[in-house]
Amino acid sequence: MNFDDTPQEAVFRREARQWIDANAPKELEAQLSKPSVGRVKLEGIDIITASKAWQKKKAAAGWACLHWPKEYGGRGSSPIERVIWQQEEGFYDKLSGVFLIGQGMCGPTMMTYASEEQKRRYLPPLASGEEIWCQLFSEPSAGSDVAGLRTRAEKQGDEWVINGQKIWTSGAHYSDYGILITRTDPTVPKHKGLTMFFLSMKSPGVEVRPIKQANGMQEFNEVYFTDVRIPDAQRLGAVNDGWNVSLTTLMNERLSIGARVWTGFSEMFQFCSDFVTENGPALDDRAVRAKLAEWAVRHSGLKYTSYRSISALSRGERPGPENSIGKLVSGTMMQDIAMFAADLQGAAGVLTDPKLAGVAGQFQAMLLQSPSNRIAGGTDEILRNIIAERVLGLPGDIRVDKDLPFNQVPTRGRKG
C-alpha cells in the first residue's frame, strides 16, 4: 500500500509538470491559487477568454481531453494519466470549468453516436476549447424525472422541427453547440418516445434567457425552441432511442473521478484557527471542535475514497462503486459548513460586504450557493436511490407511469 507512482506514471507526471511549469498562465497564478469557495472570479480578464486561451495552448501541445483518441483532439491517454494530469494542473483546472459539460458529457455522446465525419468535424474544436458545448436535458416539468420531458421534435422531410423549452442549461449563453433530447412519440410510454440530436446554438428559433438564481447570480439559462429546424443527419442514435443515448451521457457524468475533493473543510479549519470569539480562539471551543472533527473525517473519507478509485485506474481496472458517495457527502457538508461559519460570526454573520464580512464574505456566498450543490447533477434523493439500487441492489421505485402512453400520464399534482 503506497501513494507512489509506477515508473511509467512518474515519467508521465514529470513530463506533464515540466510542460505546465513552462506554459501555464503564470500571470493568473495569484488569483487562481486563492481559495475560491467553489466559485472562480478573475479581475482584469474575462474567465472565458482566459479559459479558451489556456485550453488552446494545451490542445496544441496534446494536453487536452487526454483520454480521447488523438484523431479527435485527444492524447489517447489511459485513465490514470488523465488523473495525474489533473493533479499536476492543480488550480489551473479552474480554467476548465466552462468546458466541463461539453468535454465530459457531450463529447463522449458524440463519440458513441455521431458519424465519423461529424466526429472529425466537431470533436477537435470541442477538445481545444474553440467551441463550447452545452447539454439541453432538463425541463420545467422534467427535472429528476427527465424522461418526462415535453420538448417536441416532428419530422418534416429530412428535417426535424423542434418546439419547447429547456431549463437549467449551464453555459447556454456562451455555447456554440448543444446536445438536445426531445419527444418524438407521445403515444408510447415516456422512456420509449425520446430522440437525441445535436444542434448549433445559433440556429434560428433558439432563444437563450438567463435565469436569475436564488443567490443573485446568473449561471443557468432557459432555452426556448420555436420551430427550430435540425437536419436528420444530426440525430444521435435511432429515432425513439434517445433514452439509451442519454444514459451514455449521464454515465459519463458519474464516471469522472476528480483528482481533488472540495468540501470547504480546509477553508473552515483555517477560519476557525484564525477566528477569536468572546470566549477565546474558536478552535478551543468544544462545540466547534466536535463539528470540525466530524467534517475532517468526512473530508478525509472522500479524499481516500477517491484515492482508492485512482488506485483501481492505476491497475488498469474499472473503479468500484465507492465514488458514488462524493457529491452526496460534499453537498451537505458545504451547506453545513457555510451555515456554521456564519453562525460563529454572530450578528455579523449576516453581512456579505467583502470589506466587512469575515474572510471577504466567502462563507456567506457559499451559504447562498450551497442549496444548488444538493440539487444540480442529481438531487441528494436521486443519488441515494442510485446507491440503493445500483450499489446495494435494492428494487427500483414502483413507477405508476412506466407503462402508460406519455400523453396519458397525469400532469397535475394537487386534486380539486
Binding site: M1, N2, F3, D4, D5, E9, I80, F269, Q270, S273, L283, R289, A290, L292, A293, E294, A296, V297, R298, S300, G301, L302, K303, Y304, T305, Y307, R308, I310, S311, A312, S314, R315, E322, I325, L328, V329, E381, L383, R384, N385, I387, A388, E389, V391, L392, G393, L394, P395, G396, D397, I398
Partner: protein, 375 residues
Amino acid sequence: MNFDFSDQQKQLRDEARRYLTEHSSPKAVRAVLDGGAPFDQALWKGLAGMGFLGVAVPEEFGGAGAGHLELCVIAEEMGRALAPVPFSSSIYLATEAIMLAGSDEQKRRLLPGLASGQSIGTLALFERPGNPSPQAIAASVAGGALSGTKVPVPDGAIADIAIIAARTASSGRETDISLFVVDLHDKGVTRKALTSLDPTRNQAEIVFQNCPAEPLGAAGEGWSILSRVLDRAAVLMAFEQVGGADRALEMGRDYALDRIAFGRPIGSFQAVKHMLADMYVSATLARSNAYYGAWALSTDAAELPEAAATARISATQAFQHCAKNNIQVHGGMGFTWEFDCHLYYRRANALAVALGSLSYWEDLLIDRLRSRNAA
C-alpha cells in the same frame, strides 16, 4: 498509486473470512453470549493455529513476520464475524505495547506466548468513568510493587498478563506515568468479572495488592508510549469496526429484499432505501479512512496520530450507524434476542468506547490537525 491491499493480503482476508464463517458462526458467538464461557477457547486455539495471532510479530519472536497490513485484513474479518475472543486486547494492545517498548529480552520472553495464543494479554488503563488521562491514574508502583484498582479491564477475566499504566511520581505531569507488565496469576491479584453491554467480550475489575511489576519502557515515558499504543490499536480496531459495519449493512439490505409489507419488498420504499444508502456512505467513508490509517501504521508515517484519530472516529460512527439502523430495518424482529442484529449493536457500542470515547478522539484529532497546520 496503489492505495489498496495487495492480492496476497486480499487472499489472506478471504482465508480469514472462510475460517471465521465456519468457526465464529452466530451459534458460536451466542454460546459466549449465553454465558457458557468467557470466551471461545476452541476458536482462540484455531486462530493461533492459522497463524493469525502473531501475523505482525517478527519471526524471531515467534510470529509470522508478515506485517500490520496483514493484521488489518484479519481484524476486519474478526469484526465482521464478531469473534468472541480477546484478539484486540491481546494483539492490538498488549502485543503492540511490547513490540513498541519492550526490551529485546522482554520481547523474547513475552511475544512467543502472545503470538501462539498460549498467553493472553490486555491493557489495564482505566480506573473510573472518563477518558484516558494521566490525572485519572491512581494505581501506583513503589519499590517494584503495584497497588491499585483497574476498571474496566477488557478481557480482564481471562488474561494472563496485563500492561499496566501506573503512577511512579506525583509531580502532576504526564511523566508521572510509567508502564509495567504484571502477571495476573500473582497472588496479589483479585479479579471480578463484570456484566457489560457486550457479553461476547468480557470485562473485569482487577484489584492489585503489592503485585510484582516489571517496567516496560523507560520510567516516566509511560504516557507517551501509551498514546502511541492507543493510536496503533485505534487503526486496528477501526478495521474490526469496518468489518462489523459492512456486515450490519448487508444484513439490513438482505432483510429489506426479503421482507414484504404493503404488497412489496420493504427495500423498495425510499424511506428504507435512503436509510440503507446512508449506511453505505458511512461504511465507505470509514473504510477509506481505515485504509489511510493502515497506510500510516504500516509505514510508520509521521501522519499516524491524525490518521489513527481519523480512522477511529469514522469507524466508530459507521459501525454505530449501521448497527442501529440494521435493527430499524428489521423492525420488531430486530429487537428480538433470536435475531442477530443486537449482537452487532452491542459490539458497535462496546467498541465505540473501548479506547476512549468519540469526543476524546475528536479532541485528539483537532489538536493533531492544529499542530500539523502550525508546522
